[in-house]
């Protein structure tokens, strides 16, 4: 190790000019929004706008590809908004909107790119080709750009339908499934870059592809892609933070489950030469579950605060709440065993894998089989 790397830099010292440029651009963007829409914003909105500058700065400083992502998504979304020029019917008329960046098209591109990325990750794994692997990573990044653009444009489109219908696209199963694909892919990309684990891509992207399958079915069979107005209970600021926090949790738990699957494969001696070492997989599984656990905890607490405001009680033992508690207890026990008892190995891997079933039930099964207050996305 070089001496220059060894010396620990403190947080502010570690910032270079690109960091500052990124933050200044974010700040300018936010200032533009504030200058144009100040009259329409309430206190919360101003607070959220300011927080988003800080939040995205930190995120971009922490992991630099986020900057290019934000720049790309901003460019595409702004182009779409410019093309729409306030008229939703142009969706079918302008070539770029119709085939690329109307929300529906962008989401379709995301779906296609994610499936393609999954296939190419597998190809790269078996052919042990570094170039093919890079291609898969690139495709995943492109999918994230398109998906995020899709959500952004959908947000704008909802306001074009009618100003009072406009809302952030986090309100039903279709929209949160897109979010799930994005978050899971991005978390995977982060670990891939940090730990050089491109061999895991195929396995992790299986979960994402399954979600894509659901989106496709939901779109073509149920027309779930149409923008619906918000029911009164959802008209709240809490939705903007409660839902994403929850999906970081779900995404991280899914990622952990797939890493656990890889661990179990390696443990049986399958794909030992192809997949990363057990120690790394074990570490990755732990990291992913701890990130998920923190966000899931925060999401549940935010949910409780929202429930207190909307339903009159911070905890109503609603089916979704109860299953969130079960998921939480499940991973709390997992972490307890690992951190306090120092347990490692197969048991925890199996547990993380089976945890995916519990998580999916809380995420999807509750909407399918049980009724309750959280029935925004029935199947």
């Amino acid at each position: 190790m070089q001496s220059s790397n060894v010396r620990r830099k403190h947080f502010w010292q570690a910032r270079d000019w690109t960091d500052w440029l990124f933050s200044i651009l974010l700040l300018l963007g936010a200032a533009g929004v504030y200058a144009n829409y100040q009259s329409l914003m309430d206190g919360y909105e101003v607070f959220f706008l300011a927080s988003s500058v800080v939040g995205f700065s930190l995120l971009g400083w922490f992991w630099s590809p986020i900057r290019s992502l934000i720049a790309g998504v901003a460019a595409l979304s702004l182009s779409a908004i410019a093309l729409y020029a306030g008229d939703l019917s142009l969706m079918q008329q302008k070539f770029l909107l119709k085939f690329l960046i109307s929300s529906q098209s962008a989401v379709m591109w995301m779906n296609v790119l994610l499936i393609l990325a999954t296939l190419i990750y597998w190809l790269a794994l078996f052919r042990k080709s570094a170039f093919t692997g890079k291609l898969a990573t690139f495709l995943t990044w492109s999918a994230v750009v398109m998906g995020l653009t899709g959500l952004m444009v959908r947000w704008y489109e909802s306001y074009l339908i009618a100003p009072d219908i406009g809302h952030i696209p986090l309100s039903n199963l279709y929209e949160v499934f897109i979010l799930f694909c994005l978050i899971t892919s991005m978390m995977y990309l982060y670990y891939e870059a940090r730990y050089q684990t491109r061999q895991l891509g195929g396995l992790v992207m299986l979960v994402v592809s399954a979600a894509v399958g659901f989106i496709l079915w939901y779109t073509f069979d149920r027309q779930a892609n149409t923008i619906q107005p918000l029911v009164p209970a959802l008209q709240s600021y809490w939705m903007k933070i409660h839902v994403p926090a929850n999906f970081i949790g779900y995404g991280a738990f899914s990622l952990a489950a797939m890493v656990a699957a890889a661990y179990l494969l390696v443990d049986r001696g399958w794909g030992q030469k192809l997949l990363p070492a057990k120690a790394l997989l074990d570490d990755l599984m732990y990291r992913s579950i701890s990130v998920g656990f923190i966000f899931f905890t925060i999401a549940t607490i935010l949910g409780a605060m929202w429930a207190a405001e909307a339903w009159g009680s911070y905890w109503s033992w609603d089916a979704k709440e109860t299953w969130a508690l079960i998921v939480w207890l499940n991973y709390a026990a997992w972490l307890h065993l690992r951190l306090v008892k120092g347990l490692r190995g197969n048991l925890l891997a199996w547990w993380a894998l089976i945890g995916l079933i519990v998580t999916s039930f809380a995420f999807l099964g509750v909407n399918m089989f049980l009724s309750g207050l959280h029935s925004y996305g029935t199947l």
């Binding site: 190790m1 001496s3 060894v6 010396r7 620990r8 009618a162 009072d164 219908i165 149920r222 027309q223 619906q228 107005p229 029911v231 009164p232 209970a233 008209q235 709240s236 120690a279 790394l280 570490d283 732990y286 701890s290 656990f293 923190i294 905890t297 925060i298 607490i301 409780a304 605060m305 207190a308 405001e309 909307a310 339903w311 009159g312 009680s313 911070y314 905890w315 033992w317 089916a319 109860t322 299953w323 508690l325 079960i326 207890l329 026990a333 307890h336 951190l339 306090v340 509750v366 049980l370 009724s371 309750g372």
Partner: protein, 653 residues
């Protein structure tokens, strides 16, 4: 003494905590699968009397507030508290210690340790390595051992251990907050017999003191349905199959309730204009609440939870379905009130149950079509003198079904059944007039002979119009009309089955239907002439006739001798409010903050201990490192620190 020690050990053990949590999880799952807090009658129907009582005894219908569930939570609090009590002294002691007394032999046992030689003076080496430690955010203590060696015992990430205390204390605080807001105090008072749940539907003034909760009640979650223009100073807390009356420290009045809709018909907002009257206020407090925007006054938060009818006034037309009367009788009704129709044995009671101003339905067969608002509807029951009731759902306006407009009325005998729908075709003015004119004309037995007489010229071939055949034909038409107007097509079918050989039945049925059709046409034309004052279609189109005859036939299964159509209404709404006082909420939030801090500390503060033992007799330092969690990061940190130390020792300055 031995027993209490064993109990203490059991309760504070992790095994016990895990068992308790498992039971909580399983109970919670049952609670999500079995719908909670339904009316008890639903459970009775679902499980039958034996299992109903058994599950009732287990508290299955409100698991989360059952005594045993609360007891388990109490165990959880106890167990976690004991666990914290047991571990905290050790953790705090550990946090204070540097373990500077460790000797070379024990350091050599570490997995991560290495001896480093240096050429600079020991004092310099100590200074340089202290620098390194400082740069890595370590704090240390220096100690000279008995053998003359110097120990620098350092540590960082000390607060990781606080994470354990924080998370566990957080869970205790959250549970206590939750138990405070759960109905534990009420549960205890119930057990002592101080409070009794009221199950009868009686006015508040008749509810006994034992079923009332005072304004000082620590925590509650009560409901109140307030019609527009009314006021209340009590709310109702639902408990199992009954309720308790919660007295409020103020009077609450509802001035207005509004529902706004999106263009698609879905509700956009529910708003209530509330007025709080309290002698302590100089003037009444006026505030509008809506979903997500509650009002808090005197520690009681008032939420918009739902809405229902507040006694809408209805103007109705009652159409006779049995006799020859073709004009309706005007009737007035009010939701939640009753009206008597007829007298004596045949008297019927109409109970108006609900009114909905908007009904967003998808009427087309295409399930993907967009639902739209089809206008108002009302629900009422018709009860006979024996107490038997049928429930009806009538839409005010005709509904467009497959391109035709029909007045639709649903009927069911019990709440568990699906509605069976009667469809009456609307005429070109969108009224019931034409149908009712036709029905009355057909049902007028005095006219049957004349209808039959007119049919002769239309249906009987001229060659067969001799006196005998004509008379036979006329009498069979009269017979057929009688059957049809006494039991519809099924009655005609019975007539055919009893009098016609099987081989000819189909042919005869066709003829009969033809006769009924033509007879209906004639009857209608006669009625039009007799009742020029009725605004009705001038002729009967085939489809309208077909639909009309079908619905006449269905009337015999409709269950009441009249059809109620809604002609006008004055909408009165009632706002469904929820009033809660939950002092535990702040505790729960405090606990939540602690919990998040604790989890962060446990996972993201890296606890590290480093020992630098400078030997007395040689220019050598032993570096050892430990962490309570050995993972990838730990290896990296060790490697980094080792390199830094090596570099520092090598440099001259």
């Amino acid at each position: 003494m031995y027993f209490s020690k064993k109990l203490y050990e059991l309760l504070s053990s992790m095994r016990f905590a895990v068992s308790v949590l498992t039971v909580v999880s399983i109970a919670s799952i049952i609670g999500t699968v079995l719908k909670q807090n339904e009316p008890y009658n639903n459970y009775l129907i679902q499980f039958g009397p034996y299992w109903f009582d058994f599950f009732k005894m287990l508290g299955m219908y409100d698991i989360y507030h059952s005594a045993w569930f609360l007891l388990i939570l109490l165990f959880l609090v106890t167990s976690t508290s004991l666990c914290v009590y047991r571990q905290t002294p050790q953790i705090l002691k550990d946090m204070r210690q540097y373990r500077e007394h460790l000797n070379e032999k024990s350091l050599r046992q570490f997995t991560h340790q290495k001896s480093l030689a240096y050429s600079i003076s020991t004092a310099q080496a100590q200074a340089k390595l202290s620098d390194v430690l400082q740069q890595h955010d370590y704090r240390w203590r220096q100690e000279t051992h008995a053998d003359g060696s110097v120990m620098l015992a350092a540590k960082t990430g000390n607060y990781q251990k606080l994470g354990y205390i924080f998370t566990h204390v957080a869970i205790i605080i959250i549970c206590i907050g939750g138990l405070m807001d759960g109905n534990v105090p009420l549960k205890i008072q119930e057990l002592l017999g101080d409070k009794v749940v009221e199950t009868r539907d009686i006015p508040v003034s008749q509810v006994s003191e034992k079923s009332k909760l005072s304004v000082r009640n620590l925590s509650f979650r009560a409901n109140l349905t307030l019609p527009e223009g009314s006021r209340a100073d009590v709310a109702f807390e639902r408990v199992r199959d009954g309720y308790m009356v919660q007295q409020l420290p103020f009077t609450l009045a509802l001035e207005d309730f509004r529902i706004e809709h999106y263009p698609t018909g879905q509700p956009k907002s529910f708003e209530s204009d509330l007025v709080i009257m309290d002698p302590e206020l100089k003037q009444p407090l006026k505030q509008t609440i809506k979903v997500n925007h509650p009002l808090t006054y005197k520690g009681i938060t008032i939420y918009q939870s739902d809405f229902q009818d507040g006694g809408t006034d209805l103007q109705l037309n009652a159409w006779d379905l049995t006799g020859a009367r073709n004009q309706p009788v005007k009737l007035a009704g009010k939701i939640f009130q009753q009206t008597q129709v007829g007298e004596g044995q045949g008297a019927l009671q109409i109970e108006f149950d609900d009114f909905k101003k908007f009904n967003v339905l998808n009427l087309s067969k295409d399930i993907k079509a967009k639902p739209r608002n089809v206008g108002p509807s009302m629900i009422f029951k018709v009860r006979d003198s024996a107490g038997q009731a049928k429930e009806y759902l009538n839409y005010m306006q005709p509904l467009n079904l497959d391109g035709q407009f029909y007045f639709v009325s649903g009927m069911r005998a019990t709440a568990q059944e699906e509605y069976k729908y009667l469809r009456i075709p609307a005429d070109e003015n969108m009224t019931l007039n034409s149908f009712m004119l036709l029905r009355a004309a057909l049902f007028d037995e005095r006219q049957h002979e004349q209808i039959a007489h007119r049919l002769v010229s239309r249906l009987l071939p001229e060659a067969h119009r001799d006196a005998q055949t004509t008379q036979k034909f006329e009498s069979s038409v009269v017979q057929l009309l009688k059957q049809f107007t006494q039991g519809g097509y099924s009655s005609v079918a019975r007539l055919i089955e009893s009098s016609v050989p099987e081989a000819q039945r189909e042919q005869v049925a066709k003829t009969y239907i033809k006769i009924i059709n033509v007879a209906a046409q004639e009857a209608y034309q006669m009625a039009l002439q007799q009742h020029p004052e009725v605004q009705a279609n001038k002729s009967l189109e085939d489809k309208f006739l077909l639909d009309s005859l079908n619905s006449i036939s269905d009337l015999f299964f409709y269950g009441t001798p009249f059809y109620l159509s809604l002609t006008n209404y004055e909408h009165h709404e009632a706002s469904g409010l929820q009033l809660t006082r939950s002092p535990g909420k702040n505790l729960v939030y405090l606990g939540s903050i602690l919990l998040v801090m604790g989890i962060f500390a446990m996972m993201y503060i890296r606890e590290r201990r480093v020992w630098l033992l400078f030997k007395a007799d040689a220019k050598q330092v032993l570096l050892a490192m430990s962490a309570n969690r050995k993972n990838h990061d730990f290896d990296q940190d060790y490697e980094q620190l080792l390199q830094r130390c090596k570099l520092a020792l090598r440099s001259e300055k």
